[in-house]
Symmetry: C2
Subunit: 366 residues, 2 copies
C-alpha cells in the first residue's frame, strides 16, 4: 500500500486502486439502467420537507447525532434509537464498519482475513485494500448461489449482501441466520441494499437482538429513491452501534447534512407510496425477465431492482453493452471472470424496459 | 488501539476516544456562540438553488466528481478543476488528507510523527489516534504564537491552522511560506478555515504552484454560512488532488449530495454579500474585543470569527462559562492545560454581542 521506494513526501502516500462507479452521464435523454436507481421519484414527503427548509438550517451545523432521522428509522423498524447508525450512503456505513470491526488477529497476532463471495459488490475488496484488511473470497457455486459451508472457518469478519449483487440472487432467512449463528466470534454484516425488492419477511433485522454479532446495512438509494441525498444506515445492538459511532465521531462529527436528515426522516412516513413503487418495480422486473428469456437470454432469479442476464449463444454481453450504449441505453457490464458474459440491467419504468426489450429483439433478429 | 485481551469479535474493534463537538442545543432561543457559525444566513443564491432543485436530483446518484461545485471553486480561485478536492466539511477533507499522506517512515521503516501545535484544532490528535499516525505537538510560545523553528526537524507531515484555533491568532504569509519551504519532503497542510476573517491577501492559496507539498484546506461552515450543508475543500496541485481523490473513491464514491453540490456552487457567485457579512463580523469583533478589554478581559488578537478571551483576576473562565449557559449564552470552554482560563466566543450579530457584554459587565460588577 505504501511505496517505500519513493523519495520525499510521495513515499508516505497511501496508493490505492479506487472503485469505479457506474457512469453518471449528464445527458438526461438516455435510458439510465446502470446504477440501480429507482425510476420513480421519492415520496412527495421529500419535496414537502425540502420546501419547508429554511436558510437558518443551512447556516447552523446540523445535529451531529442526526436524531430526527435516527428516530424516524427507529420508529419504522420498532427498535431503539441507540440501535441505528446513519451515514453518507451505505458506502459510508459499510466503510465505517470495516474500519471499526475488521481488525481481528489470531493468537500469534496475525491479522485474520475477512470473508466475502468472489462475485459480489465490488467495493468490499476496495475497502479492504484501502484499510489494509486481509481478505479471502469464497467462490459462488455454479448456479451463483452462496455455499454456506464456506463461511465456517476462522475469519476476521464476514460481509454478505442479501440479495447478492450483481447476481440479484436472494438467500432465505434461515440460511443467513446459520452464517450468523456459526460465527459468534466474528462480526457478520448483511448488506440488505436490495432487500425491499425481495419477498417480504426476508430481512434479518429482527435477528439483531438474538445475535450480538449481526449488523444489517440498508440504503435510501434504491427502494427509497433518494440516491441523490446519500443516506445509508445500520441496524444492530446498542453496543455495536456505539462502537461505530465512536469511530465516526473520530473521523467527522457531522456527516449528515441538514437536507439529508430532513428528507430522510420525511419519506419513511409514506409507507403507501413506498409499497406501491416497489410493487410496480417487481412487476416490471418479472415481465421483463420473462420477455428476454423468450429471446433466449439466461436470467438469474432476481429479488432486486435489477436483473443479471446473459445473452443467447452467438452474442456476447460486451457487444450488447456497447450496442445499448450507442442507442442511449446505459446498462452495467463487469469485465471480470465468471460474469463477463452478463449484463446487469436496472429495472426502470415499464416503458423503458419495453424499449430495451425491443432493442434486444431487433438486435438478435437482424 | 486494538485490544488483544478481549474475546470474540470485540478483540478486533478499533477503540477510540472520539472528538466532542460543541453542543447543538435544540432550543432556538439561546444565543449560540459556541461553534463559530456565521450569524448571517447564506447568500440568497443558496435559497434560489434550493428552490430550483427537482426531485429527479434526489432520485439519481449525484455526480461523483461534484463537478458543478468543483468548477465554481476553481473559477473563484482561478485554478484548474483538477486542483480542487471537495468533501463533507473540512473535517472530511482533513481526515482524507491524514489518511492519504501521513504514512511516512524513516530509513529503518519506523513511522515518522506528524507535527502540529499543542494548542490547536482538537480534531488533529483524534484523527492521528484513529488512523494510528504517530504525532508530536509543538508548544506555542507564551504569547500563543507559533515558533517556526519547531517545524524544522524530520517529520511525517505538518498541519497548521491559519488563523490558529482556538487562539484566533494569525501568522503572516511569509512565516507560513517558510514552513512549507523548509519541509520539501513533507506534506504541509494549512487549514484556512478562518482565513476569510483575516486581512485580505493572507491566504497561501497562491503558493500552491510554487511548492509541490502544500495543501490549503477551506470550509463553507464559517465565512460562507453553510455549516448545515457540510462542504469543505482542498486546493493544491493536480498530483496531490489526484492522490486524495483516489483514497476518497476507495472509501465512498459519492460523498457530496445533490443539495450540497448545488448550493455550494451557487453561493460563491455572490461575492458582494460574502464581503459584506465578513466586514460586519470583523467590525463587531473589533468592537466587542475592545469593550470586554475595558472590563479587564485579556483578549488575544483575533483574525477569525471568534475571540479567545480570559476574564479579569478573581474570576475563572469556567465559572463564566457556566454562568453564561444559565443565561442562555453558549460559548466554548476547553478544560485543558494552558487555555483553561479562556473562553472561545463566536462573533454573532451586534445585538448578541451587546447582550454578552452586558452580562459580563453585570456579572463582574455584582
Amino acid at each position: 500500500m505504501i511505496d517505500a521506494n519513493m523519495n520525499g513526501w510521495e513515499a508516505g502516500v497511501r496508493k490505492v486502486v479506487p472503485y469505479t462507479p457506474g457512469e453518471q452521464p449528464k445527458n438526461k435523454n438516455i435510458i439510465k439502467l446502470n446504477t440501480n436507481e429507482n425510476p420513480y421519484g421519492p415520496s412527495n414527503e421529500a419535496l414537502k420537507a425540502l420546501e419547508g427548509m429554511d436558510m437558518d438550517e443551512a447556516r447552523r451545523y446540523p445535529d451531529p447525532t442526526a436524531s430526527e432521522l435516527v428516530k424516524a428509522l427507529a420508529d419504522y423498524y420498532s427498535v431503539d434509537e441507540n440501535q441505528v447508525f446513519v451515514g453518507v450512503g451505505s458506502d459510508d456505513v459499510l466503510g465505517m464498519c470495516f474500519m471499526t470491526f475488521f481488525n481481528q488477529t489470531n493468537e500469534r497476532g496475525e491479522r485474520l482475513p475477512i470473508l466475502f463471495p468472489d462475485i459480489t459488490y465490488s467495493f468490499y475488496p476496495v475497502w479492504a485494500d484501502m484499510l489494509g484488511i486481509p481478505y479471502e473470497t469464497k467462490a459462488l457455486k455454479d448456479d451463483f448461489t452462496i455455499d454456506a459451508a464456506d463461511y465456517n472457518g476462522p475469519n476476521g469478519g464476514i460481509v454478505i449482501p442479501n440479495p447478492n449483487a450483481p447476481t440479484a440472487i436472494y438467500m432465505a432467512k434461515a440460511f443467513v441466520e446459520d452464517i450468523v449463528k456459526n460465527n459468534p466470534s466474528s462480526i457478520v454484516i448483511i448488506d440488505e441494499a436490495y432487500i425491499d425488492f425481495a419477498p417480504q419477511g426476508s430481512s434479518v433485522i429482527d435477528l439483531i437482538d438474538k445475535y450480538d454479532n449481526l449488523i444489517v446495512v440498508r440504503t435510501y438509494s434504491k427502494s427509497r429513491s433518494m440516491a441523490g441525498l446519500r443516506i445509508g444506515y445500520a441496524i444492530s445492538n446498542p453496543k455495536i452501534i456505539k462502537f461505530i459511532n465512536d469511530v465516526k465521531y473520530s473521523y467527522n462529527s457531522y456527516t449528515m447534512n441538514a437536507p439529508s436528515i430532513k428528507l430522510g426522516a420525511a419519506v419513511v412516513k409514506d409507507e403507501e407510496y413506498f409499497r406501491e413503487t416497489i410493487s410496480k418495480i417487481v412487476k416490471t422486473r418479472e415481465e421483463f425477465a420473462e420477455k428476454i428469456k423468450g429471446l433466449g437470454f439466461t436470467v438469474l432469479p432476481s429479488s432486486a431492482n435489477f436483473v443479471f442476464a446473459s445473452p443467447p449463444e452467438g452474442y456476447t454481453a460486451e457487444e450488447l453493452f456497447e450496442e445499448c450504449k450507442k442507442r442511449g441505453i446505459y446498462v452495467r457490464y463487469f469485465k471480470q471472470p465468471r460474469i463477463n458474459n452478463f449484463l446487469r440491467i436496472t429495472i426502470g419504468k415499464e416503458q423503458d424496459m419495453r424499449t430495451v426489450y425491443e432493442f434486444f429483439k431487433d438486435f438478435l433478429t437482424r
